[in-house]
Symmetry: D2
Subunit: 140 residues, 4 copies
């Protein structure tokens, strides 16, 4: 386990108020678990995160997943990566006030490309969405 994960584990149960990600701070996740290759974060669905049907917006689902995948990859590899693509499948819905859990996993850590996945579930374990992403290491 590297120093970054030592630091992250000290923050479990807390909102990441000092996240270097402005959108990450706005999303307001609370860290649940962190180890090299995987991070879990809990988000509470706020009204401004919803769509006209009153449910968690697909773009917010994508935001939670893209944010947490990026954090997992930089924390695990120590290198900044840019997302090449993000493919999200929407399976169920969440409503205002629901707590949703985003969990990431690095599937393959290549020298240039990292392939990762994320899931979003309710506290009860119902699957809301899944995503896969490819990220490219940025040099320098």
């Amino acid at each position: 386990m590297n120093d970054v994960f030592d630091s992250l584990q000290a923050l479990i149960g807390q909102p990441l108020a000092d996240s270097p990600s402005p959108l990450g701070r706005w999303l307001g996740g609370v860290l649940r678990a962190a180890e090299p290759g995987s991070i879990s974060m809990a988000y509470t669905v706020r009204a401004e995160m919803t769509n006209p049907a009153g449910v968690l917006h697909g773009g917010m689902i994508a935001s939670m997943m893209d944010e947490l995948i990026g954090m997992t990859v930089v924390a695990t590899t120590g290198r900044y990566h840019a997302s090449v693509n993000l493919a999200v499948d929407f399976l169920s819905s969440a409503r205002v006030g629901d707590v949703v859990i985003c969990t990431t996993r690095i599937v393959r850590q290549g020298r240039q490309i990292v392939h990762a996945e994320a899931s979003l579930t309710t506290e009860g374990g119902k699957l809301i969405a899944r995503a896969t992403s490819n990220l490219l290491a940025r040099d320098g």
Copy 2:
């Protein structure tokens, strides 16, 4: 052209302050163009929309695209649809203060599935991202 698009066209150049989408209102887009099958919206990149690299967050790109595709589909078909999936490819970046233009197009309007795409460009026409999405008609 249906009544919905008559109404939308009257709003060109204005922020959609009365959008039924809470996230849509938070994104704060200004309508640029609207016709059946295609809508364009301009968004100004705010600090809270960025990632740790200081550029427009991939999740915000996905949010703009998912929001505007959904609006285009409901306005064009008159039926609510749920996103089945959203696949985003990230091609370039935008910074705080940049105005980015999201433009949608319905590629195939089926009875059950609508297939649509979106692009995000700078004012100058540089391509920032593209997405495709499949949406399922919800009955009732």
Copy 3:
């Protein structure tokens, strides 16, 4: 377990010479495992399945996955479904003569949309590719 899976399990270890899928017969898979929601099939990489780099062609990877996902969905649900989309991520390569194992899993079985995934590995367990797919139930 339904009758279809009883029949499939009797075929484990055999090539599916009577598959109703012409491309499935051409791919020449040998059934490894079958239960509701998941099927595994072994394919031997032939020269005509390769690309100019001499490795298993991405299109063949997609073919094995799309074929086996379709078989899993019809066997599990008893209803014919059409693929809405297939998203494949390529992680490693296989060469002529290699045996590759495709394994599917239905992630969510909805009334209209089934969401499924597939992986392709070598005999030794090295991950070659992954895919996700959404399929739409066809009535009558």
Copy 4:
């Protein structure tokens, strides 16, 4: 226009019998058009390319698109690239004996990542499928 495209244009109207791609030869496409950034190829649907529903198999659609995108990228850039991902959306169907036209376009040619798309249509212009792909330049 580079030498590769001079050579390709001399082959318009012919099957690419000497393609360095074994699967490409098996698919049996006839070149329709070729310019830097875009190639069109006509394929005739054979029985062994179909699924149990008697229509062109999704995996064959993916094969045509992945094959032709790869050819377009190597011919345009002069460098071999590996597919990182391929996302296919299925919009309509084709039957045995139909001639289908696959057309590619490089959307963004980066130093490391090329982003490309492909469409598959009938001779009459009906859209059968679309795909996007990201490819990574391989050094050496």
